[in-house]
Symmetry: C2
Subunit: 392 residues, 2 copies
């Protein structure tokens, strides 16, 4: 019996677990501290009325023998796929229904997708980025190369043609930096991927926060359907972190080694997964209804108010930061040359504010810190008031 090789290669703790443990320990020592959590990217607004009503309706359907539904089609119900198809069509992107795979979230999808590739591949991962890409690439035995995202390139690295890779992770708008690619920039990535037969895994989980002309989908770029898979989530756009629904789009044109990646993903999906709860699929459908979209757009507006409050505070303090415009995260520089974890401890101990150490997202994140804008206005304003007392 041998346990998996990754167990020796992975850092002991997943970033957000480490943060949670530190906070827990602080709370034990300071039971009455009023901690404001701007760490994990969890939303705070409740799901919207359309979604609640849809859940109640479908729960009642499930309780009635006439309308009960057992196993979902593995890749999801057509009613939800059609809503997604329409959502893309509204942005002039045509998808076939069987290019859409409904799942329990983008995190699962972006991990599970690696199962269709050989471990004998090179993954190109931006640094800093959402740590799941790295951990899951290691778990699946891939070789990892990093691409440096730094202040110098505004955290928007472009392809280095001298570096060969097979699988390219792109997160745009980026978690944690908030940087988002324009269409001409993404075209360079598509051209690069095509030139070395690579596949882009495009994480569009924060797409709904884009307010300029950054790409909302990789499929806006010509020929991307020959080299890209897109991942979407209802978590941030619709407050679904506790509801669990996302989807992946695998173009039927996308082939490697003569095999359709759409078919391979379908096979992986049907073997290792059994579909998303009917109630949740109906809930996701409600998010994409006219009324649901209107309600969900209010979430984005609400969280953007938080970005503005934090940005203003940092501006006043003369602290450099990125993000906050096309994303729900502020990516700030740590003050007084503190490293990321030192700054974490400083904020927690001095101001009872929890954020996420930038170094947890990669070595280039060292000296940076991520603040989430997903809190309530009240908490965010209170945090800003506290932050005003930071001494540079």
């Amino acid at each position: 019996m041998k346990i998996a090789e990754w167990t020796q290669k992975l850092k002991k703790n997943y970033l957000f677990q480490s943060v949670a443990e530190k906070v827990k320990s602080f709370k034990e020592k300071n039971p009455y501290a009023n901690i404001i959590n701007m760490g994990i990217g969890d939303v705070s607004l409740p799901i919207c009325k359309s979604v609640v009503n849809s859940c109640i309706k479908s729960a009642n359907e499930m309780g009635n023998i006439e309308s009960f539904r057992g196993y979902s089609p593995n890749s999801g119900y057509d009613f939800l796929k059609k809503s997604i198809q329409q959502d893309y069509q509204d942005r002039n992107i045509s998808l076939d229904l069987d290019e859409i795979f409904i799942s329990d979230g983008a995190k699962s999808d972006m991990s599970n997708i690696l199962d269709i590739f050989s471990s004998d591949n090179v993954c190109l991962i931006p640094d800093p980025v959402y740590p799941v890409y790295l951990d899951t690439s290691i778990m699946n035995g891939m070789t990892v190369k990093f691409i440096n995202a730094t202040e110098d390139n505004n955290f928007l690295p472009l392809p280095d043609l001298s570096v060969k890779s097979d699988i390219i992770y792109i997160c745009s708008p980026n978690n944690p930096t908030g940087a988002s690619y324009s269409k001409p920039e993404l075209k360079l990535w598509v051209d690069y991927a095509l030139s070395c037969d690579a596949v882009i895994l495009f994480d569009a989980a924060y797409e709904s926060f884009i307010e300029d002309d950054s790409c909302k989908s990789i499929f806006e770029v010509e020929n991307s359907d020959l080299c890209a898979i897109e991942f979407k989530s209802f978590s941030k756009s619709s407050g679904f972190t506790g509801m669990r629904c996302g989807y992946s789009i695998v173009p039927k044109k996308l082939k490697r080694n003569g095999e359709s990646l759409n078919s391979l993903w379908s096979r992986r999906h049907s073997t290792k997964f059994n579909g998303v709860p009917y109630i949740i699929q109906r809930a996701a459908e409600a998010c994409l209804s006219t009324e649901g979209k209107k309600e969900c757009s209010k979430f984005i507006k609400y969280y953007k108010e938080n970005s503005k409050s934090i940005s203003k505070t940092l501006d006043n303090l003369g602290i450099k930061y990125f993000g906050g415009k096309n994303s729900p995260y502020i990516w700030m520089k740590c003050i007084n040359d503190m490293n990321s974890w030192e700054f974490f401890d400083y904020l927690l101990e001095k101001f009872q504010i929890v954020g996420t150490p930038g170094s947890g997202f990669g070595k280039n994140g060292e000296g940076f810190f991520r603040l989430s804008c997903f809190g309530s206005h009240e908490n965010t304003l209170e945090a800003c008031k506290r932050l005003e007392n930071m001494k540079k």
Copy 2:
């Protein structure tokens, strides 16, 4: 770029997909045929009132800012884990809460668990059995050995001490044969696993159908916490096939290569998965309430009526079969020396009855056929009426 090696090793289609395609093609040719589906093990009774009420209550909670919940704890909420803990305690099995991991179902769990083991392991898989074990072992690159379950051993094979293995799949009550192990028999498997440092993956998805003294949990057997992981599902016990909830139990005592498998599974869970919807966890909790248990026990009783009807029909026809007592499946011999797929075609074309060819579960399933008892009484009685016209 290389695609995954398993793509060349797996059969082209997952069993139930093949069945679905055959049925679809038949329907296209015979649009008015009244087909009775006794194939896939999907339930037909709606979720019970307690569960519907719980869904409505929690959907409303999710719509209220005071009670909204975002990301679930990765391994599930304590309220559900405590219900499960109590359910085991009622059978004199003590579990710690952090030995319980809530998931979207046993199928996902039994596939994903392989991620914590090296691909350099030998999986011992009963033949015939639920095809996911084989497919997922191949996907994860393991070496597979089979253990023959045949009429001669009443489909309850015991360990062959001359065969070494690292991971042992046991499904009891077995899908498809319905055979279930007694405690002394399971003890032989535990002793064998301990003797060769192997881990048993115990699939107890059909436990609630047991009506004799077969083991309902591997943890009834002494020292099994040193060598076994148990997988459970609400799908069949509570009509949750379209609700998606299950769980795994990984004892903290269980170690291999000096590492705690509980910790490894926790790490895998937190990296590649983001928890089960709050609404679904509350729904599962409702199944384990006093009222919920009472309601769910009626499902079992209902489906067992179907077993009796089918058994009686086969008895009258003098056709040999297994199962139907501790399981919701009848495992019958094909008539007139037909092979499994011939018998599938025969039943579909002649009687418009869909079942599952035994050979889809392994070579020892050839010549057998699985009938599911999860249909309505009405459909099952109609199917029995049709079957009475089978000519031997």
